[in-house]
Each structure stands twice: as structure tokens, then as C-alpha cells.
Symmetry: C2
Subunit: 442 residues, 2 copies
């Protein structure tokens, strides 16, 4: 992605930093200030795309020309932008890791203009994928043993949102996506059924089902709610033996409207009566974690869910209070004191403590110069702008995330806000440093 995908103020500040020769090292940290009221935890994601952005960051000739044409930028800035590369260090928590407010999940240490400049796009990438992974994890926790597929492309916020949502949902436990390009780009399993229009253009529903199964004979899923759900399932039951003789096994029927619990029960009984015990029931249409929870609690025999809008827009919380803040410059810790938005100063590390079974017990945010036992969450990713380690595969991230979710204390796994939110402790040394800085004049 292009370097000019940033906020104008980054260019303004760079111009000032260059004029003042302020190019010493700065440390910024990316973190969430508070959880959305409906949430108990977050899941980090997007690191791979963030690192790829930093590694490839440079201005095109067209972008340089646009900057020049504005007439308000210095020749010094333009020269600087021509050669602009990211040469700093990055430490971050692995994708799929559970985290909480005030815990830095990504730390940039680089010459001030570089560390400043990357703020807007780093947040744009990590915020979105973390948002979706967190929502997907919440959904996955409510649907144990059920197949979950991302159906959200059409209402995702643009092309990149659809692709990142498919990726982040897969990391957090979804089995795949309907978004074809995400399958191609990230090697995520892709799934698909049929649209109502397919049924509507055929002379009859039965003809549509037959045509679809013959054209796509590998595990077809038939959409049964275009006119009358139970009547359609009866047609499926009648068709199945004939199709079986052609070697076509109907994989599932898909419900997409009405009372899904009632339709699922009626559908199961029609299918079972016809001996079609292995034809599954897949549900879609305004599905979210609450709806899944209610359906399964009601005993709805649903084997899988297509989750669209609620997942891809994180509809209950379409944004996180995620920020990227200066922690030190030229080796000196810095603190922002704005009302309600004060930061903990200095480069930090998060130490996680677990019980014997691996469950989270508590986290402590410490200055990175402190010693501590516990598991440090931030790991080296880039040094001097280059990768330290190969990026793990999506499959590895997915396993890591599954282990993380399994290690969540029970109250955090619930849909309702936990009575006692999990909150990282702030170390004594860090508090003392904040105190000292507050006493300084500005």
C-alpha cells in the first residue's frame, strides 16, 4: 500500500522535525485504552500486514509530485521522502494472543520521523484485524464444534476490510470464508452455497436444486428458504435418493430467514425421516454470538453458521479505542497527560502469569528495563527494518489463538461483561516514573 495513505499532519510534523534536526530515536507503543462495554478481552491480529507495510514503505514518484504540488512543503522534506525507508525495530505480541487494556501489543523504536510517520497506517491495519479477530473469537466461543464461515464481504467496509476480516476470523477460529480472493491470497478454505436468485430464475425450486447439484456435484449445500422452508426441505428429501444414484451427496441445507430454531428442528425431522441423517443444517441471516447462543441453548440442530455483517463490521463495537503513543524520545521517557487520556511513560513489556493448567492469572505492565518472571508478551519482529524470524503460518496462528482462548478464565468467556474485568497491573517502578514526569514543567 502506498505511503501517502496517512494523515496530512504526519507530513507537517516530519517537515518540522527535519527543520529542527530532531531525528533521534523515538519509541511509540500501540495499545487499547479501554474495552468496548460489551467485551471481556481482545485478540491481537494484523501483525503480518503491519510488518509487510513497514518493510516495503516508500513513496512513489507520483506521490512525491503531489507533495511538491501542494506548495507548502519544504524541499528538505521532499528530498527526505524520496529516500524514505523504515529502518527501525519492532516488537509485538504474536497474532492470536489475548490481550487487555493498557498492554502494548506493538512497539516501534526508530528515528523520530519514521516512528511518527507510520502511526496512521499501522493503526489502520492492526485496529481492523484486531477488531475482527476479537469479534470472531467471541463468536467461536459460543459455537463449539460448529462450522463457522465468514459471509460478510458485501457489507464489510470495502475491499481491504473484506480480505482482512476473512484472515482475522480464520486466525480466531472460523473454518473459512466465502470471499474468494481471501482464499487465493491467504490460502484460507473457501465455502459457498447458492443465492435466492438462483432458485428464482428456475421454473421450480426442485429444478434449481437438481441443476445446482449437477453443476457443482461436490458436497452441494441447498438454500431452502426462498418460498417455503419446510416444503423445500421435503423436495430435497425427495431428490436425495435420485442424486445419490448419480453419486451426488447433498452436504447440507441452508436456512436464511424466519425462526431458525423452529425451522432447524422441522428440517432435521424431515431429513431424518427420509434417512438423511448425514445431511447437515447450515444457518445464516443476521447471525451473531447472541443469536448462536440462543439457538444452541434452544436445542436447534444446526451444524454450522454463516456469519456476515456482525462479524465483518464488528457490529456491537465497530471500533476499538486503540492508539499509538510516544513513550520516549532520545532515551527520555515521555508522558501525555490529557484529561482521560494519560499514558504510562517509557518503553514497556507485558509479563503474563499463568496457573499450572496454563490459565491466565494476571498480567503486569513493566518498564522494559525491569526484571520479572512471567512470560514476556512482546517479541522481537523487526531489527533495523528487517524480519528477525520468519512469519508463522496462518495455521500456526490459528492453533496459538485456540490455545489462548482455551486459557481464558471462565468469566471472560461469557457473553456478559465479567463482574471483575481482567486488568493488567502497573508495576511500582512505572507508577513512580509517571509521578516523576508529572512533576516536570512544560
Amino acid at each position: 500500500m502506498t505511503a501517502l495513505l496517512t494523515d496530512l499532519y504526519q507530513l507537517s510534523m516530519l517537515q518540522a522535525y527535519l527543520a529542527e534536526r530532531m531525528e533521534e530515536n523515538a519509541v511509540f507503543e500501540l495499545f487499547v485504552r479501554k474495552l468496548p462495554p460489551t467485551r471481556n478481552f481482545l485478540v491481537a491480529a494484523g501483525l503480518e500486514q503491519a510488518l509487510a507495510y513497514l518493510e516495503s514503505l516508500s513513496f512513489t514518484e507520483d506521490e512525491i509530485r503531489w507533495v511538491e504540488q501542494q506548495g507548502s512543503f519544504s524541499a528538505q522534506l521532499v528530498r527526505y521522502l524520496r529516500e524514505f525507508r523504515f529502518t527501525g525495530d519492532v516488537d509485538a505480541v504474536p497474532e492470536g494472543t489475548v490481550f487487555f487494556p493498557d498492554e502494548p501489543i506493538l512497539r516501534v523504536s526508530a528515528p523520530l520521523p519514521q516512528a511518527q510517520f507510520v502511526e496512521s497506517r499501522l493503526l489502520n491495519i492492526v485496529h481492523l484485524q484486531t477488531l475482527i479477530a476479537s469479534k470472531a473469537a467471541r463468536i467461536a466461543l459460543r459455537a463449539p464444534g460448529r462450522q463457522l464461515v465468514d459471509f460478510g464481504m458485501r457489507r464489510a467496509h470495502g475491499a481491504e476490510a473484506a480480505l482482512f476480516a476473512a484472515r482475522a476470523a480464520y486466525v480466531a477460529g472460523f473454518e473459512g470464508t466465502a470471499t474468494t480472493l481471501a482464499g487465493m491470497r491467504y490460502d484460507i478454505p473457501v465455502y459457498g452455497t447458492m443465492a435466492h436468485s438462483f432458485v428464482q430464475v428456475h421454473a421450480s425450486e426442485q429444478q434449481a436444486f437438481e441443476a445446482f447439484c449437477r453443476a457443482r456435484p461436490r458436497n452441494p449445500v441447498l438454500l431452502v428458504d426462498t418460498y417455503d422452508t419446510e416444503a423445500a426441505v421435503e423436495k430435497v428429501a425427495a431428490l436425495a435418493p435420485m442424486l445419490a444414484r448419480e453419486g451426488i451427496r447433498i452436504s447440507a441445507v441452508r436456512l436464511d430467514s424466519g425462526d431458525l430454531a423452529a425451522h432447524a428442528k422441522a428440517t432435521r425431522s424431515i431429513l431424518d425421516r427420509a434417512g438423511l441423517h448425514d445431511v447437515g443444517i447450515f444457518a445464516s441471516g443476521n447471525i451473531d454470538e447472541h443469536r448462536i447462543d440462543a439457538l444452541l441453548a434452544a436445542g436447534a440442530p444446526i451444524d454450522g453458521f454463516g456469519v456476515g455483517t456482525a462479524l465483518d463490521t464488528s457490529s456491537d463495537a465497530p471500533a476499538l479505542d486503540m492508539v499509538y503513543k510516544l513513550q520516549s524520545y532520545a532515551g527520555q521517557p515521555r508522558r501525555k497527560r490529557s484529561e482521560g487520556k494519560a499514558t504510562w511513560p517509557g518503553p514497556k513489556q507485558v509479563y503474563r502469569h499463568r496457573d499450572g493448567e496454563g490459565h491466565l492469572v494476571h498480567d503486569v505492565v513493566r518498564l522494559d528495563t525491569e526484571r520479572s518472571d512471567g512470560e514476556p508478551l512482546l517479541r522481537p519482529c523487526l531489527r533495523a527494518g528487517r524480519r528477525v524470524l520468519p512469519q508463522p503460518s496462518l495455521g500456526q496462528l490459528r492453533s496459538h489463538c485456540a490455545a489462548e482462548l482455551a486459557a481464558l478464565p471462565e468469566p471472560l468467556r461469557a457473553l456478559a461483561p465479567a463482574e471483575t474485568p481482567y486488568r493488567a497491573a502497573i508495576s511500582e517502578e512505572l507508577r513512580a516514573l509517571a509521578h516523576r514526569l508529572d512533576a516536570l514543567e512544560h
Copy 2:
């Protein structure tokens, strides 16, 4: 954008249509089923990008190879995709037009496989821009005479969301954006101030302000809430005469935290006491239409607002119930009857009726074969895949939208849901057709 940015089921259905030689003309319409509970109207946007998508639609060699590699697609489909182009007709309402549930805003008439295939990405484009334009219009209505700037890139859902949000907000009345690439790509005015980090890296706030003004002497805006807002404004007041001697006029101060009404009043009085009547006050930080309304009602002397997350994610309603549905195939009207999701069949037109002053009075959705007075909202855009008319400039769309908002009946301009929602009437002929179709067997 690549053709493979679609749902897998589109490819499955195309394979079936080709196998069945079902390539007659189909008409699909894009519309919203219902308003979000918080809203009284919507503003159409995204048509330009939708048409550009259709005009340029084709599969790359890599994409064709991916389709082949899946092993489940027919040689016939692969041959078809190689030559795939959009050759159909599109009619749509101009961007910036106000619209309501059940009113088609875009109609595609094309050979069935083409009209079907484009569903996912057309929705992805038009949904997002309509979502943001609708939110931006709601914000603009609460801030008459105030400068509104899009500050949302960092929490927009990815790159395209940030760019489309900047564009849609501009159409709906924002003056510009902080997103630099949107400025370059769409020629939208770009604005920027400074970050807290800029203040923090300097030895003192005063030094930061001076350095910024000298580096960016054209109408600088100074951020005053890093440590203590009123103390910072006093520093600005003290600096202003010195900077004025250097020819630098401070344009505004920016408040970003705390009680914005109280800070704005205190700031105004400090600036006025120093004779700085022409230094404006710009506010940001969790701004939305409700907050703007409350601040202005409280008499807060704020001249402009930076609106970020609430705008770019449409936070109160991050998705619309927007769909793209088959209306006819091979000249025969079709109707989906799914519970709670039934459609009005056949290709349609929306007629708008206004009073003598141009205010909306009522809309009627009719079959496009009916005659009616009133203003038809859907206009020809593409014929046989090519533009009929040049695309209006963003400036023209912006003027059109301003006129549309001025024509809204007063109850629809309010923040609260209107007691009587504005709802298009459905013509007698259309109801009669739906009735006839419901009587058919499927």
C-alpha cells in the same frame, strides 16, 4: 479491483447457468430493506466507483489459474471467465440523493451470469459509501456554518474504507479530510494539525508551538491539550504577537480532550482578551452528531470539528440492510417470498413528488412500465457496458447533496427518529403483480 473479490457462490452459480445455457437478460435492483433505528433518511453514494468496477471488470491470468486449481470448476466456466466483461445496462440515482427503504438506487440489466456475478462487489462499494455519506449528512445537519473535517483514517476499516469515507463525507458536506491519499486521488481538500507526540518530544510546549509554526507557517493549528489546556492557550496568546511579526497567523487551536464546552469557552475568553478574535477553535476527540449538537446547544464557541471514528465506522449503525435482488429473468418478473425478506417484483422506478419550495412530499415505487408524473430518481448510467453521460465532478455531487438535505422535511432532519417515518408508497400495479406471483407454484 480484481474480479475474484467476490463470494465463491457466484462462481458456483455461473457454472450452473452456463451448463444450463441460462444467459437471458436478468434485472437486479440494489436497495435498503429498512433504516437503522437511529436514522430518518439515507444518502446514496459510491456510484462512480461502482461504474468504474463494472467498466473494468475482467479476470487476470493469476485469478483464472486459481479457479482452475480448485479442481471443482468446469472447463466451460474457465473459458467463460477468460472473456468475462460486463456488457449490461445500469440505471441509478445520482450520488448525494436522499433515499428511503424499498427504493431501488441502482438497477442492473444484463445477461444473467453477469448480473449475478457483480452482486458482491457492487454491494461492497455502494453499501460502504452510502453508509458514510448518510452518517456525514446527519453530522453536517447538526453543524451549520462549522468546518467539518474527516479525521477517521486510523480507525476506518482498512485502506479502501478510509479513502471511500473521505470521498463520501465530502459529497455529504464535509469540507475535507486529513487522509492525504484521498486528497491526491479525489482532489478533496486536505487538512491537518499536529499530534501530541510533537508536543511531547519538545523540551516545552511553547518550543513545540514555535517550531511547528515556523516549519508550517501557512495557517497553523496548534494542539493545546497535551498537558493543561488553558495553560497552553495562554502560551499561544503570548506567542501570537511575536509570530505575527514574522508574518505567521495562527489559524486555530485544537481541543482534543476533557469538557470541550468548558475548555472552548475558557479558550475563547483567553484568546479574545489577547485580541486574537480571529484565531478559531477546532475540536476533536470522540465527536459525533450528538456531541456536536450538545456542544453548540451549550453555546460552546467552536468553529470546526474533526470527526473520526464515529464518521468512518458509522458507529451507531455500522451496516445497512442493503441487498441486491433479482426482479426479473427473461422478461418475467420474479419474487422472493422468504419470511421477513419478501421483495417487490419486476424492474421498478421511483417517482419523487415535491412541493412548490422543492421539499419532499412523497415518493412512489412503480413498475417501470407505469406512467407517472413526479421526478424519476433512477437515471441511465451505462448502456451495453459503457457510460451514457460523463460522471459529474465531486463539487457538483456536493452541491446536489446540499440541495437534497435542504429539501428534507423538518422532522427528518432531527437526530431523533421521526414519529412518522418517510416511506415510499408502493403502486397499485406493483402490489397486484406481487399478488399474482404469490399465487404461482414453485
